[in-house]
């Protein structure tokens, strides 16, 4: 069962969320106080192993920021981490959020349309699945490419894929975790040396003229 993390400043909304999703997900309600920062709340969620972060939009009567600010900070840390903005003020939220796809209405649990709620739950599972699959796929691909790099070296396309997967995983798990320590030391240094040499030659020619 996946674990959803919720940031919402209203207890009744927290409870409504809990009751709505508890049969399909584990729920972790992220505690907040007036001094909480975006980083505090995100770190708390990650530390508690959430698979998807659900953020309320309108919270600045209580906190010093709204949900859009948390979403933006999360994008900086890991743009691929699953997140949803759940709000009673969809229109207002759309004015402040770049990615309109993450904005959803709290009407979803109003009871007006149980089928919409089912679809929404499936959507959440799908978002988490996609994210997890992307990580698995990147890790597997990287493992293959790494083996080949050490054994026979990579052609230019493979080299590009190798960098992309590394970049993705670095964003997901933090900088420097994935890219091989030796990847930049031989081939890259050779290319850089060659580039510097050619540049110097060009500059000398200019000076002669």
């Amino acid at each position: 069962m996946y674990r959803l993390g919720l940031i919402d400043d209203e207890q009744s909304q927290q409870n409504a969320f809990h009751q709505t999703f508890k049969d399909d997900f584990e729920i972790y309600i992220i505690p907040l106080n007036q001094d909480s920062t975006e980083d505090d709340l995100i770190r708390d969620g990650i530390d508690n192993h959430i698979d998807l972060l659900v953020v309320d939009y309108q919270m600045d009567h209580f906190l010093r920021f709204n949900g859009d600010s948390i979403a933006r900070r999360l994008d900086e840390l890991n743009p691929y981490f699953p997140k949803i903005l759940l709000t009673s003020h969809e229109n207002d939220a759309l004015d402040f959020i770049d990615d309109a796809n993450i904005v959803n209405s709290k009407d979803i649990w109003s009871g007006d349309s149980p089928s919409d709620l089912d679809i929404f739950k499936k959507k959440l599972i799908r978002i988490i699945n996609s994210y997890n699959s992307a990580i698995d796929e990147a890790e597997e691909a990287l493992e293959e490419l790494e083996k080949k790099r050490i054994a026979t070296g990579l052609d230019p396309d493979e080299e590009q894929r190798y960098v992309d997967k590394n970049t993705f995983l670095n964003k997901v798990f933090g900088q420097g975790k994935y890219l091989s320590g030796t990847f930049y030391s031989v081939e890259t240094n050779r290319k850089l040396d060659s580039l510097i040499e050619k540049t110097e030659q060009l500059l000398n020619k200019f000076d002669e003229k």
Partner: protein, 793 residues
């Protein structure tokens, strides 16, 4: 056991009788009513002040009615407070008697100390009756101890008496000869109590004019003469007028079906012009139908018969009430008192008005305007007197001040109507006089009657509105207003573009333009073009403002329509969770769920529900409060009490937003103004919600409202420690009160606020004379100072 009768002193009886006449004019009119009741066709009032001795100045009131026989004088005239006119309410000639209480003889006392009467009938000889009212002044004398003298006259009758007394007044002699005074009654009152000079006589003459309903009283003429200057007065004219725009005559039949027979005469438009130049008018769908069709329009008048229950708002009126109103008829004239409906000259092009002389209309309306009530032919005061708008037509028009050119709720103004309502003592017996005789008691029946009159007026309003609206539509199509506007807009753009091009060239060349003067637009053209553009822009802004206000008003209307259900919900909403908790605890101890996850604990869930319900109740309180009628009435408002309630209303929102509202001021009676509470709500609710917005993301959020009285003003400071005035307003803070001014924007700088809150606040304050609002410089946060003048004593 002895049975002893009540008795009354003569003096008391006289005083009670006198109470019935507010003034001397009323006493004269009462005596004229007696003449009417006696089936006279002529009544003459003569003032004779030619004698040097004031004691000999006299008022004569003479009629050619059937006179009084000895037995009538003994049994009816001498009986004070007789109910004869209640029992025998029609005269021998079939008239409904107008007096009712048998107190007419005290009218004589009101006018003078001595009264003499001469009455000639068909059967008896002439009778002479005399009384000295001073006899009534004797202390302790019972009424039945006072005697009047009564004896028969052999050699003189009414006609001869008049001929001998007024031999030098040919006008009076001619009148008596023509009107035949073979029978009738004459009163001579001397030792007059009032000074009858030119002013009072003119006033009486004018009042007698309005006493007679216009053209509906053909069989009773009144004449007034002053012996000293006979030509000054004469026949009292009735309020007949034929230069009207509309005449509506309605007869209500209270029995069975309660129907109205209405005759409408249209006389406002020039039919010839209509036929020659406005024929397309009858191509509109509504104008093809009766009574707007061409044929009916040219006929000028039409009749309709309709059930009262089909009138607006009358389907639910109690049938018994409608019956009790009784038969009546109502005739009124509509006369607009300006040549056009609007001040615009273009109206004359739109509507083919019949021409009229404004001054004569104004003068006639001045005298005969208003809706008057006549009971059995005589005026019931004070209805329609001196601008008395007892049907509240003015208020009604002010609520819907819509131009006649817009289809909907066009309303007549009270100074455009002259009407008479004829009621009678027989048909309208539920209309009881107030004890002071100044009007009719305002019971349910009279109120229903008033509403019925207003609906009859509305039949006319609807008729005129439909015709004028279609004429206006025709003008719009024909004169192509829209097209003209577009052309003007394009022309304005061209002029301004050319002007700007020339200015740019001049700037580049650094010397004045060489464009010939004839090809340059004149300063006036540039000014007009610039104004056209500004007006266009203002119009657009106003339209968007109206649109927004309309949608906000709709929200109010929706809440208003559900007010009853919401009030009942408001009462139940909070206790219901307490009831549930109390019952639940009987079966599940709270301690037994101590280990359950808080979010799944039913007791916690019920507490949350209660919290939500309290919030809901707060909003219901807020919405329902502003709909309360008493908040929409001007009343004395003490700011101490007002702000205490205000804080209470906002309590939940303040807690939820972590905002502290501090009140600094007292409930001292000096802190009171006259205001509509709903206005204050609009002001302070707007200011507080603005503060909520400004306090977002802050810490230690504070709002302070402080008030105190200084001289004739109450000053209120509204302060918050939020983010303060947006930088763009610091140079001129008063700009925040302009419509559509807002600093509330999204992350891309798009305006997301309405910018109407402070504009509404300012507009309301402007409505209060001498009140003001200003932004006060604050080191941190935002500070406003409002000043309200205190109520005038």
């Amino acid at each position: 056991m002895a049975k002893i009768p009540f008795t009354v002193s003569a003096r008391t009886a006289k005083l009670i009788g006198q109470e019935n006449f507010a003034n001397a004019e009323g006493a004269v009119i009462e005596l004229v009513k007696n003449a009417y009741d006696a089936d006279a066709d002529t009544a003459i009032i003569i003032f004779d002040s030619t004698d040097e001795s004031a004691d000999k100045h006299a008022i004569y009131i003479i009629d050619n009615g059937h006179g009084m026989t000895r037995s009538v004088v003994r049994e009816k005239w001498m009986r004070i407070g007789t109910d004869d006119k209640l029992q025998n309410f029609t005269s021998a000639g079939g008239r409904i008697k107008t007096g009712a209480k048998g107190i007419g003889r005290f009218a004589l006392d009101r006018l003078g100390e001595r009264a003499r009467m001469l009455s000639t009938t068909d059967t008896d000889k002439s009778l002479y009756w005399a009384v000295n009212w001073k006899d009534f002044e004797a202390i302790g004398v019972p009424i039945n101890a006072i005697n009047a003298r009564l004896y028969s006259l052999k050699d003189i009758d009414l006609e001869r008496y008049i001929e001998s007394h007024f031999s030098k007044s040919p006008l009076i002699l001619d009148l008596v000869k023509n009107a035949k005074f073979s029978t009738g009654t004459l009163f001579k009152i001397t030792n007059l109590k009032d000074l009858w000079d030119e002013n009072t006589l003119t006033s009486l003459f004018d009042n007698l004019e309005v006493l007679i309903p216009p053209a509906e009283q053909p069989d009773f003429d009144i004449f007034l003469f002053n012996v000293g200057s006979l030509a000054d007065y004469g026949k009292v004219n009735s309020a007949f007028y034929d230069d009207y725009d509309y005449r509506v005559s309605a007869a209500y039949s209270a029995n069975d079906d309660q129907t109205l027979q209405v005759t409408v005469t249209r006389n406002e438009l020039d039919l010839e012009a209509l036929e020659n130049s406005y024929k397309e008018l009858f191509e509109f769908d509504l104008m093809k139908k009766f009574p707007f069709d061409m044929e009916t329009m040219y006929k000028k008048d039409f009749n309709v018969s309709l059930k009262v229950t089909n009138l607006k708002g009358f389907s639910s009126v109690n049938a018994d009430l409608l019956k009790k109103i009784g038969d009546f008829d109502f005739t009124f004239y509509f006369l607009k008192n300006r040549p056009t409906d609007d001040r615009s000259e273009s109206d004359l092009k739109k509507y083919p008005y019949r021409k009229f002389v404004t001054a004569s209309r104004m003068a006639w309306l001045e005298k005969f305007g208003g809706v008057k009530i006549f009971r059995d032919g005589f005026r019931v005061r004070p209805y329609g007197e001196n601008g008395d708008d007892w049907l509240k037509l003015g208020e009604r028009q002010a609520r819907n001040p819509q131009a006649v050119s817009r289809l909907g709720t066009y309303r007549i103004r009270p100074n455009q109507i002259a009407g008479t309502v004829n009621i009678s003592r027989i048909n309208n017996r539920y209309f009881n006089d107030k004890s002071g005789r100044e009007g009719i008691q305002e019971n349910d029946i009279f109120l229903a009657f008033k509403n019925l009159l207003i609906e009859i007026i509305n039949l006319f309003e609807r008729d005129r509105n439909v015709i004028m609206f279609h004429l206006s539509e025709l003008a719009r199509i024909r004169f192509d207003d829209e097209n003209e506007r577009e052309l003007a807009k394009a022309e304005a753009e061209r002029i301004l573009r050319e002007d700007s091009e020339i200015s740019q060239k001049d700037a580049v060349n650094r010397k004045p333009s060489t464009v010939p003067k004839s090809r340059k637009n004149s300063d006036t053209e540039v000014l007009l073009a610039s104004a056209t553009q500004k007006y266009e822009q203002e119009l657009e802004e106003k339209e968007s403002e109206i649109q927004l206000l309309r949608s906000l008003a709709s929200i109010g209307l929706i809440v208003s329509s559900a007010a009853h259900e919401l009030t009942s919900l408001r009462q139940r909403i909070v206790p219901r969770t307490d009831f549930l908790l109390r019952e639940l605890k009987k079966y599940i101890p709270v301690s037994s769920l101590a280990d359950v996850n808080r979010e799944d604990n039913p007791f916690y869930m019920i507490e949350l529900m209660k919290e939500e319900d309290l919030k809901l109740k707060h909003w219901l309180d807020y919405s329902l409060n502003s709909l309360k009628k008493d908040r929409r009435k001007r009343a004395n408002v003490n700011f101490g009490n007002y702000f205490e309630n205000f804080k209470n209303t906002w309590k939940r929102s303040l807690i939820q937003r972590n905002v502290t509202l501090s009140l600094r001021g007292t409930k001292d009676a000096r802190n009171t103004i006259q205001a509509f509470e709903v206005d204050l709500d609009a002001i302070f609710n707007n200011l507080l919600t603005n503060s909520f917005e400004a306090l977002k993301r802050g810490k230690d959020k504070q709002v302070t409202i402080a008030w105190n009285r200084v001289n004739e003003f109450i000053y209120i400071e509204f302060i918050d420690n939020g983010r303060g005035l947006a930088p763009e307003y610091t140079s001129d803070p008063s700009e925040i009160f302009n419509p559509h001014e807002t600093s509330k924007r999204d992350s891309r700088g798009n305006i997301i606020g309405t910018g109407l809150g402070l504009y509404i606040v300012k507009s309301i304050i402007t409505d209060y004379k001498d009140a003001s609002i200003e932004v006060v410089k604050a080191d941190a946060g935002f500070r406003l100072r409002l000043a309200f003048p205190v109520r005038k004593k």
